[in-house]
């Protein structure tokens, strides 16, 4: 598996670490609602098919990325930048190289 990092280009899986589901939403930090904290911390949709997920390019630019990947085929549909720089670089597509 290769990820096309918007900053560094096509890099091998070994350079990245996986950080899980990118679709979970967080309650406000002072929220006392146990239900929504439980959802955030423990409950996952775990879909078979397209999955939006965080990866960090630890052995590269160290940026957090949001990747859309198919969990049944491992093919990558899209790689975007997460955090304050999101939107400043165009999403990358990795169809050509798996």
């Amino acid at each position: 598996m290769y990820l096309n990092c918007p900053f560094c280009g096509h890099r091998h899986l070994e350079e990245f670490t996986y950080e899980g589901d990118a679709t979970i939403s967080w309650p406000t930090l002072d929220s006392q609602d146990i239900g929504s904290w439980t959802d955030t911390v423990y409950q996952r949709r775990n879909p078979a098919g397209p999955h939006r997920e965080y990866w960090q390019h630890v052995h590269g630019c160290r940026q957090f990325l949001i990747v859309e990947r198919d969990t049944t085929t491992h093919s990558i549909h899209k790689v975007e930048v997460a955090g304050p720089w999101a939107g400043e670089t165009a999403p990358r597509n990795t169809e050509a190289k798996q």
């Binding site: 091998h12 899986l13 775990n46």
Partner: protein, 419 residues
């Protein structure tokens, strides 16, 4: 057909042509059962067997998407142990160990359970102290555990590098002498045969595609072979738990599906007569009766429903094997494959009634579910038959994440890939 030395001799004289099918080949399910078990892996089959044997519920169907033994029960590295730290896990897995010890006789089917010992290596005094704590916790619960120093380890596993020159020198280890391995396919086949002979219907090639509801109550399943009604439905589909339970209305569960790979080398003369785990990384290795080294390591580490992994893990696992056993460096791999694990958020399983009436859940086995097969089936059968968990699985509740009663054996936190 009863298996014995005599039946074997008789068949040998007849050129082994007289063996009959091990369980009935049923194409079509009946229209109604008392209990349907979804998933014909080890857990589903054991559940059906114990429902019939322990609770007299014989109008049962096991409904399997593919074929018996095609899931994780036929893909694992077959390590059986009960060397846990937390008493809830300890007691459950030890009950499993006792069932393993009587399994071949109980099923009249040789599952080749071999108590060759499971040795966890420690690579620092601190790690050895951690093992001491776990060993004491085991002994308090009546489980066998022995702490070995480096020399004892060296005598027990001669081919291993225990020198000071090793990258992670061996400091000692924790041994569970009663641990070992078993023939995984035989476990599936033995339970299938046992359940079938007590009247359970096993339907293969019959994917469950949805559930039948009456109001909020679940009253059966929808399959590729049509609807089948039931008083109760138990789901034991391992890596596919989220996928199947989504159809019953569970949008989210405390589970992620991950891929785990396993490896078998070309056959060798006897080299390793126990199960060894490397403690400075993640590797478990044993030798099969055919001579192949059977080993595995970490998950690939990302959500996956593909029963295949990627190359970094192959390299990682192989390099750990060579670190530990330098004499393996020129060995070739014969086969390797992957399986889809139902990784739970705390690394411990779920055997429980569900909030939906008529539906029972068995999931979250991570990569330790093979050893759990008998105890899981036994407890799940109890939970379904009596409509309440047994003491042994009372801690494996689905709502423990909300109530704060998680069972995080390693203290790794809510990150499935770390368990």
């Amino acid at each position: 057909m009863h298996f014995s030395a005599l039946s074997l001799a008789r068949q040998a004289l007849k050129g082994h042509r007289g063996w009959t099918r091990t369980w009935r080949a049923l194409e079509q399910p009946k229209s109604h059962y008392d209990v349907i078990v979804v998933g014909g892996g080890g857990h589903g089959l054991a559940t059906a067997y114990y429902l019939a044997k322990e609770h007299g519920i014989t109008n049962v169907a096991v409904i399997e998407k593919g074929w018996i033994g095609g899931g994780n029960v036929g893909r694992n590295t077959t390590i059986v142990r009960s060397n846990y730290l937390l008493p809830q896990n300890n007691r459950f897995y030890e009950w499993g160990m006792k069932l393993w010890e009587g399994m071949s006789r109980d099923l009249n089917y040789n599952v080749m359970f071999s108590q060759r010992g499971v040795l966890n290596l420690a690579h620092s005094p601190a790690q050895l102290e951690g093992y001491m704590r776990r060993g004491n916790s085991m002994r308090i619960n009546g489980i066998d555990a022995e702490l070995l120093d480096r020399d004892q380890v060296a005598r027990m596993v001669p081919g291993m590098d225990v020198s000071d020159k090793a990258r992670f020198p061996v400091a000692g280890g924790l041994l569970q002498p009663r641990g070992g391995s078993a023939r995984h396919d035989a476990v599936a086949w033995g339970y299938a045969r046992g359940a079938d002979s007590l009247g359970v219907d096993i339907i293969e090639n019959c994917e469950v595609q949805g559930f039948l509801f009456e109001g909020d109550r679940i009253v059966g399943v929808d399959t590729v072979k049509g609807p089948v009604r039931a008083g109760k439905v138990g789901v034991a589909v391992a890596g596919n738990s989220s996928r199947v339970l989504a159809k019953a209305g569970f949008e989210r569960l405390p589970i992620e599906s991950h891929v785990l790979q396993a490896f078998v080398s070309e056959p060798l003369k006897p080299l390793i007569d126990t199960v060894v785990t490397f403690g400075a990384g993640h590797l478990y290795i044993s030798q099969s009766d055919k001579g192949g080294l059977v080993f595995g390591g970490d998950l690939d580490g990302y959500n996956s429903y593909a029963q295949r992994g990627n190359l970094p893990i192959v390299q990682d696992v192989a390099s750990m094997a060579v670190t530990l056993f330098p004499n393996l460096s020129r060995l070739r791999l014969l086969r390797h494959w992957g399986g889809v694990m139902d990784m739970s958020m705390d690394g411990s399983p779920i055997i429980d009634k569900s909030p939906k009436e008529g539906l029972y859940i068995n999931a979250g086995w991570c990569y330790g579910g093979f050893k759990a097969t008998p105890a899981s089936g036994w407890c799940f059968a109890h939970t379904i038959a009596r409509d309440e968990p047994h003491d042994l699985n009372a801690a494996f509740r689905l709502d423990r994440f909300r109530t704060g009663r998680t069972l995080d054996e390693k203290g790794a936190g809510p990150v499935p890939r770390l368990h």
